[in-house]
């Protein structure tokens, strides 16, 4: 944390030095790009070439099995200093702390998989057509009803990919003359969709309803830029759980502010649907917000349902309008039938409609696991972000040199973690992000804590003082007697 600037400065200087030599070297050798402008100019890919490539082995690690609680990470080696990485045949079994597998549906499931294979045989892997042209099967209809029911909204429409859902919906419901106010840490798909719509975009401070109110008042009073005409409509875009912070959105306050100023609310529940809330219905259930107050609810099926795709839920008229105009519905191939069946089956399991209580067990387990892990990490002295009940916990690293150190050391001890740096996070706020799953057992979590603590000491990221360590096993067996053991 202390030397971040200096370290980046050093890396930058090294990079420029090497670029300089590269320029001279290339000038000697004639390239065959005569007359063509280079595909990437000077500093555009500087970060990639000189900083990112050094630690490339920490990202994009291939796996050779389902992304369940334990999985097989394929080992890679490099002959040219990390510029290219080659696969080997060797695999190592690691604990998975990186995949979005909140409810444990990632691998073959006893209820879902036979049904998925049935629908594969019945409808084949793809419908090869758009939803309006022969891509709507009975499965799609059932899926949309199921999702609308689950989210407690009158109707829903499903798309094949979550990213495209945001990018193709925002341009349809708002255009030039409208205003989009989005949280400063919103996901790239929302930013893309907002840009593609042509509306004016304003940003409010992350999760601060008072600043949102201030921005709303200013903007309504001022009107459109330059002409000062009144805005056609205002949409406020927030997320349920912010994936890089692990924080829950302050939804009740934001909805209250939007109601007061007549703005529409667009809630992106990519990470929170299925993972939080008593019955898994997302952040509205957890924070006690009536779903009728949120105008447009969006979510994805990749995280908690173990499938792919995204949905939009809202009033019947809204969904009908979207089905008539949205390009992702009219031009893109419909969602693959086996994936649709997986979503239907997993929703049935979560709601307990399959006849067992596995759904309730999974939800309880993920809540327990997240809270336990977070509190233990905080006790050890790590700087952990995020709220209670949220299964995403980032551990701050700050220093760019600690990113590869943390990642590689954990991998050596068979723990697979995800480290995130620029551009997904601000330059100086690099972090390691842990995603807890309902399929992690208590032993898995204890092992993970042990390894992370060791590596944390080695790398030096315990920025806060540790609480005196109590015997963890005794805590479970004899809740009354705690043996205090000093580090």
């Amino acid at each position: 944390m202390e030397f971040c600037f200096e370290i980046y400065g050093l890396l930058f200087a090294f990079g420029q030095f090497r670029d300089f030599f590269r320029k001279i070297f290339d000038w000697w050798q004639a390239s065959n790009l005569q007359g063509y402008a280079p595909i990437c100019l000077g500093l555009e890919d500087f970060y990639i070439r000189r900083l990112y490539l050094r630690i490339q082995d920490c990202f994009g690690r291939p796996i050779a099995s389902a992304p369940d609680a334990w999985f097989d990470v394929v080992e890679r080696y490099s002959n040219d200093n990390n510029k290219t990485l080659k696969r080997t045949e060797k695999i190592s079994r690691c604990l998975n702390l990186g995949s979005y597998n909140y409810l444990g549906f990632a691998a073959a499931d006893e209820y879902c998989t036979p049904r998925v294979i049935d629908s594969l045989n019945r409808f084949s892997a793809s419908t090869c057509s758009t939803r309006v042209d022969g891509g709507t099967t009975t499965l799609h209809k059932e899926l949309e009803d199921c999702v609308a029911n689950f989210v407690a909204k009158p109707a829903a429409v499903v798309f094949g990919m979550g990213y495209v859902t945001n990018s193709a919906i925002l341009p349809v419901i708002i255009g030039k003359g409208g205003l989009i106010i989005s949280d400063s840490l919103n996901h790239n798909s929302i930013v893309n969709g907002a840009r593609g719509s042509g509306a004016t975009i304003r940003v409010f401070q992350h999760n601060t309803p008072s600043h949102l109110e201030k921005v709303l008042r200013e903007q309504i009073a001022e009107g459109q830029p330059r002409t000062h005409r009144p805005w056609k409509k205002i949409i406020v875009v927030v997320e349920g759980i912010y994936s890089m912070e692990g924080e829950l959105c302050k939804l009740p306050e934001i909805v209250a502010v939007c109601k007061k100023y007549k703005a529409y609310v667009y809630l992106d529940e990519a990470h929170s649907i299925g993972a939080v809330g008593k019955t898994g219905r997302g952040v509205c259930e957890l924070l006690g917000v009536d779903t009728a107050d949120v105008d447009i609810m969006m979510g994805t099926f990749t995280k908690s349902f173990g499938s792919c795709g995204g949905y939009i839920a809202g009033s019947k008229e809204l969904i009908q309008y979207l089905k008539y105009t949205c390009p992702a519905h009219l031009y893109a191939t419909s969602i693959s039938p086996p994936a649709a069946q997986q979503i239907i089956s997993s929703i049935k399991v979560i709601l307990g409609e399959d006849g067992s209580s596995r759904g309730a067990q999974k939800l309880a387990r993920i809540r327990e696991n997240s809270n336990f892990f977070r509190s233990e990490l905080q006790k050890m002295g790590f700087e952990v972000l995020g709220d209670n009940d949220s299964p995403v916990m980032p551990i701050m690293l700050y220093n760019p040199a600690k990113i590869p150190a943390f990642s590689r050391e954990c991998l050596k001890q068979n723990i697979a973690v995800v480290t995130v740096a620029f551009p997904a996070t601000p330059l100086l706020l690099a972090r390691a992000r842990i995603c807890i799953s309902a399929s992690h057992t208590r032993e898995d979590l204890l092992k993970a804590l042990e390894v992370i603590s060791q590596v944390g000491d080695l790398v030096g990221i315990k920025y806060f003082p540790a609480e005196p360590k109590k015997e963890l096993q005794h805590q479970e067996q004899q809740p009354g007697k705690d043996t205090i053991k000093l580090e």
């Binding site: 402008a37 595909i39 990437c40 555009e44 890919d45 291939p62 796996i63 050779a64 992304p67 990470v73 696969r87 549906f105 691998a107 998989t113 294979i117 594969l120 019945r122 409808f123 084949s124 892997a125 419908t127 090869c128 042209d133 022969g134 891509g135 709507t136 094949g160 990213y163 495209v164 193709a168 349809v172 419901i173 996901h187 790239n188 798909s189 893309n192 593609g196 200013e218 309504i220 409509k233 205002i234 100023y261 529409y264 990749t302 173990g306 792919c308 809204l318 009908q320 309008y321 008539y324 105009t325 949205c326 390009p327 009219l330 031009y331 893109a332 191939t333 693959s336 994936a339 997986q342």
Partner: protein, 528 residues
């Protein structure tokens, strides 16, 4: 009186002269003679400085008070989120009850399916189903993460290598959705200030990508090579000095909805000319390349003349982005797409993208090119970095599909035969004319006589397709346009031909369509 005035003037003049001759006025400072006029000048200077130092008059700024802002906020009434629902928005598409193969079941009845882009007939193929089943059992359904964070499964890497090997390029990159391929690839390479020359008939994915890239966009007339050349000439001459300006041409291999004017047959030429004069927004331009005219548009079923484009590209130093969604697996005698069809080596195209939801019967898309192009996308393409990866069973289906295609190149021949049969059968249909290239797997029928408005046309075409489905058990679709789509090309009925369609089915389809078209147009002609 004149004397008095004269005396006054003389007196004043004397006084001024004496003031000017005063001893102080004759001082010499630093070797400069100071005349009396200097005092006047110094006085003027002081006056000027005084005036300049005065604050200029600005009306006082009065920011809005809290009460005023409250009033404005109370008065403001937003538009409703969506416009009111009209009758046409309520129509629901027919629901399939079985796989979207060459024949499918709708409402309990079996119909011949011309609405799925299942060009090679891989829907329901046992090898694909087998590989999907084993992948589902091994990997589950979803990949649960983006490519950078443990979402890269070995099947993805195998799929990318297989596609690159099949097409003969260096490397390829997989996207998890066909539509997002183009609109993520374009902003990755084109930034503000670059110039992109694009066909006006491209589909929405490309239009969105162009808009997001914020580059300067120049449209050229749909599939018209002369217009392209003129545009390139103009751009190059205007930007002589911009060495660092990147320039791109974006075309699609087979356009899905516009008119294709392809053959030199006089009859077709004549009727198409007639039709085109009526539909002013689609100009016909003839480009003779070995006696055949080419047009390929996804919005039209036309095929792009790739060799001409390559010649222009090399002359003016542009890079080419080619979208092969509807030609991959279809054109060329081994199904390698437009490059094989036109005899152009694939290294000459800089970036080739395609969606796999058509010929390969899976989902997703890929992009292929040189190593530099692909590596750059792995970190800067937003649809790749910020989105979950393709489900592994779909990637393994793609690998199997390419394997099957490579082993059975006769599939492309069968497809061509089927297209020819359909062409022959539909060439004399009453009231509609075929507007696509004879080699295009999308047979596009447009009205010979328009009802006068696009809406009226669309209504009539939808009625025709509805009737065909209900009475004749033939499933065809009228093209639909989103409100965001800026494509200026006309609407029509699309038939997607598949290699799995049998001859009796095709003949039945031709007869049925003729019957329905005659009946509907008679009814419509009777009404109007």
């Amino acid at each position: 009186m004149e004397l008095a005035a004269l005396n006054l003037v003389n007196a004043t003049l004397n006084w001024v002269t004496s003031a000017l001759d005063a001893p102080s006025a004759r001082a010499v400072v630093f070797g400069v003679h100071i005349g009396g006029h200097l005092f006047v000048e110094v006085l003027l200077l002081v006056v000027i400085l005084f005036l300049l130092s005065q604050k200029s008059y600005k009306p006082p700024k009065r920011p809005l008070t809290k009460k005023e802002i409250d009033e404005l906020c109370d008065e403001w009434v937003p538009e409703s989120l969506i416009p009111s629902i009209t009758q046409e928005m309520l129509s629901e598409p027919p629901v399939l009850e079985s796989a979207a193969g060459p024949c499918t079941v709708i409402n309990g009845k079996e119909v011949v399916n011309f609405a799925s882009a299942n060009y090679l007939g891989f829907v329901g193929h046992e090898k694909l189903l087998e590989s999907c089943t084993s992948a589902l059992e091994k990997y589950g359904v979803g990949s649960c993460g983006p490519r950078g964070f443990y979402g890269t499964i070995d099947v993805h890497l195998d799929c990318e290598a297989r596609i690159a090997k099949f097409l003969g390029t260096h490397d390829s990159i997989l996207y998890s959705y066909g539509l997002s391929t183009m609109f993520s690839a374009i902003p990755c390479f084109c930034k503000k200030g670059d110039i992109i020359v694009v066909d006006e008939g491209v589909h929405w994915g490309i239009q969105n990508g162009l808009y997001l890239s914020r580059s300067t966009i120049v449209y050229f007339k749909h599939n018209d090579m002369e217009s392209l050349e003129k545009t390139l000439e103009k751009i190059t001459s205007e930007n002589q000095r911009a060495k660092k300006l990147r320039r791109y041409i974006v075309v699609e291999a087979v356009y899905q909805c516009s008119v294709v004017i392809g053959m030199n047959k006089p009859m077709i030429v004549h009727s198409l000319l007639k039709w085109s004069r009526r539909h002013g927004n689609c100009k016909v331009q003839w480009v003779n390349v070995d006696d055949t005219l080419f047009w390929l548009v996804q919005n039209s079923g036309q095929i792009a003349p790739l060799d001409k484009i390559i010649r222009l590209k090399e002359k003016y130093r542009f890079r080419v982005l080619l979208d092969e969604t509807n030609s991959f697996g279809v054109l060329g005698h081994t199904g390698r797409g437009l490059t094989e069809y036109c005899g152009v080596p694939i290294e000459k195209i800089d970036i080739v993208t395609a969606a796999m939801g058509h010929a390969l019967a899976t989902e997703g898309g890929f992009c292929t090119g040189s190593a530099r192009v692909i590596d750059h996308q792995r970190l800067s393409s937003s649809g790749y970095v910020f989105s979950a990866s393709l489900p592994p069973y779909l990637a393994s289906a793609a690998i199997t599909a390419i394997d099957v295609l490579e082993e059975n190149p006769y599939l492309t021949l069968k497809l061509k035969e089927n297209i020819a049969i359909l062409w022959k059968g539909l060439s004399d249909i009453q009231g509609l004319s075929i507007a696509s290239n004879p080699e295009s797997p999308i047979v596009f029928l447009v009205l010979e006589k328009s009802t006068g408005s696009v809406k009226g046309d669309l209504q009539l075409l939808e009625d025709i397709s509805d009737r065909a489905l209900k009475q004749e058990s033939i499933y065809v679709v009228a093209s639909k346009r989103s409100t965001l789509d800026r494509c200026p090309l006309p609407v029509g009925i699309r038939l997607f031909v598949s290699a799995a369609h049998s001859e009796p089915d095709l003949h039945k389809a031709c007869e049925s369509l003729k019957r329905v078209a005659a009946a509907m147009l008679r009814a419509h002609g009777g009404k109007s």
